[in-house]
């Protein structure tokens, strides 16, 4: 079943930043509940850029604990600060999602063992020191590196969420079809196949009518094997597009209330 990773508990947003500053759990609770009710499976947790690296450690643990007080949902611990990552994993109940590794060996050598240690799933981006590859083939070559490194750490492909990386359509139009093709090929890399994910909102950065671009790309990506997306769970049309695409793709069994059922899990 398609997994929505709700992007809203992020210090980049003003209300969450203030909640962090004032140690006020209410906005975190509210967004945890709202996203879960809208159909988010994972709650992405990101401290945002404001705090210092040292402060982020404690803030991450607090955000994870606070979100899970409100709803019984697993979190995606979204940070590039490894100490904050570990603090988030320690504070987490259930199976967490590490967000994210890349195909840089130094990162893989830290984060895959961490995923194994905490029994967590992990998002891994198909990019390395050289940046984001342009072609689907090069993205897949990096995906294979990720898969092999995950396997060497005893992480099942089903716990690995490979992100082929989506770039804004208004500045990097040629990447759109390459990411879609990469999704299709990533699903053929192993059996069981790795999972796939994307940071959906990136496709529409700085473009007008972002929701339209987001939901169009989401449906196209799902056809090509997208299993999850970090996205705006508060966008009803977007969630309903995911629900409808999963029905049309025969991923869940049709019934008249399928949108409601999709949101309920």
């Amino acid at each position: 079943m398609f997994e929505i990773i709700g992007e809203r508990i992020n210090g980049m947003f003003l209300d969450i930043r203030e909640a962090i500053t004032n140690k006020d759990p209410k906005p975190v609770h509210a967004w945890a509940v709202k996203q879960a009710e809208a159909g988010a499976y994972w709650l992405d947790i990101n401290t945002g850029p404001v705090a210092s690296k040292e402060e982020q450690v404690e803030i991450m643990a607090w955000l994870v604990k606070t979100a899970q007080e409100a709803v019984d949902r697993p979190c995606a611990i979204d940070t590039t600060n490894w100490a904050a990552m570990e603090a988030g994993l320690q504070a987490h109940k259930g199976k967490a999602l590490i967000n994210s590794a890349t195909a840089e060996q130094a990162k893989m050598d830290v984060l895959f063992p961490m995923a194994a240690k905490y029994g967590a799933s992990i998002v891994a981006l198909a990019m390395n020191e050289k940046g984001v590859p342009k072609s689907a083939e090069d993205r897949c070559a990096l995906a294979m590196e990720l898969l092999v490194n995950a396997d060497m750490n005893g992480i099942s492909p089903e716990d690995l969420y490979i992100d082929p990386l989506v770039l804004p359509v208004n500045v990097a139009q040629e990447h759109g079809p390459e990411s879609l093709e990469a999704l299709r090929q990533i699903k053929m890399l192993s059996n069981p196949a790795p999972k796939t994910t994307i940071g959906l909102s990136n496709i529409s950065q700085k473009a007008p009518n972002r929701p339209l671009i987001n939901r169009t790309y989401l449906a196209m990506a799902m056809v090509n094997g997208l299993d999850s997306a970090i996205m705006d769970a508060d966008d009803d049309d977007l969630v309903e597009t995911a629900a409808t695409a999963s029905i049309i793709l025969n991923q869940s069994i049709y019934c008249d209330s399928y949108v409601k059922v999709f949101r309920q899990r």
Partner: protein, 312 residues
């Protein structure tokens, strides 16, 4: 290098449902039927023998023989069913059917109560099959059976409201019935659940056909529902009820006594019912409503073998 066996990793399981005061359980499996090497199969298939609340006229002679002397007394018939080893008794309230006797709701409810009080196993109560009539009588039966944790059915999209409200209020479970249509089946489970009855108190009846009479359609539906349940579809993760007896004994292969080339009826009739039941057990059925005690015995022998763990 050691060979790693690929196993399916399911993310969810079938709801475990309990009936009666003895706490007989059905469902709860976290893998496809009998694949113990991939998951848990905590409960064996549950059997029920059918009892009519008045003597059915066109009953096959073989069934009449098995229940000779008790068929005009539902309490005695039910006791006989328990004696034969049925895990549950399925009481069919046919006397309320306008073409049978047109009995009132109070009359059939009194019979249901008398049967429930006389047996130690959980009771299944089946209506007439006429949606409107069942919508009238089953709520009254549910009230009368308060505290018995019975399994009541069959409710359809057209009569579920009154019966669901009563089942919920008086602590019973429901059989939701949809005509060989997985989408309607899922929708009906949702509608019943939305009225407040938890999903682990619903079992669904996909309206199965017997061997030779469309068994493969019901098989595919059950298999699809089970795969859905194991991959996280909670609305289809309810135990499955199979009305094996009523279907198998409709087949001419089971009920025709004089077809020489088919061999003796005593063998083939039992085989027809048993084979229909075992097929549905392999497809994912949980509760088997049957008619002949010998079929139950043979079916249980199969289940006993299939329940031996093949985990490694």
């Amino acid at each position: 290098m050691a060979v790693t066996i690929i196993k399916e990793r399911w993310t969810s399981k079938v709801a475990e449902e309990a009936f009666g005061l003895a706490g007989i359980k059905a469902g709860g499996e976290s893998t496809l039927p009998f694949l113990q090497f991939e998951g848990e199969v905590p409960n064996r298939a549950v059997t029920a023998l059918e009892v009519f609340d008045m003597e059915p006229e066109d009953y096959p002679a073989m069934l009449k023989e098995a229940f000779a002397g008790v068929m005009n007394d539902p309490v005695a018939w039910a006791k006989k069913a328990v004696e034969y080893g049925a895990d549950m008794v399925a009481l069919r309230l046919m006397s309320a059917h306008p073409d049978w006797k047109g009995a009132s709701a109070d009359e059939v409810a009194a019979t249901a109560k008398a049967v429930a009080d006389a047996i130690s196993v959980p009771l299944i109560v089946i209506g007439t099959g006429i949606e409107e009539k069942d919508g009238e009588i089953l709520p009254v039966v549910a009230e009368k059976l308060e505290g018995k944790k019975a399994l009541i059915g069959c409710v359809t999209a057209n009569n579920y409201k009154s019966i669901t409200a009563a089942a919920n209020g008086y602590g019973h479970n429901l059989i939701a019935s949809s005509p060989l249509d997985i989408n309607l089946c899922k929708q009906l489970n949702i509608l019943i659940n939305e009225m407040g009855l938890p999903l682990d108190r619903i079992a669904f009846d996909p309206l199965v056909g017997a061997l030779g009479y469309g068994i493969e359609y019901a098989y595919s539906i059950m298999e699809r529902a089970r795969i859905g349940a194991l991959t996280g579809d909670k609305t289809l993760a309810t135990p499955i009820v199979c009305f094996v007896g009523q279907e198998a004994w409709k087949a001419k292969e089971a009920k025709d006594p004089d077809v020489a080339e088919w061999g003796p009826q005593g063998d083939r009739a039992i085989l027809w019912e048993t084979t229909t039941a075992t097929t549905f057990a392999i497809a994912g059925g949980n509760i088997f409503i049957m008619r002949h005690p010998e079929s139950v015995k043979r079916f249980n022998a199969f289940i006993a073998e299939a329940m031996k763990s093949n985990a490694y």
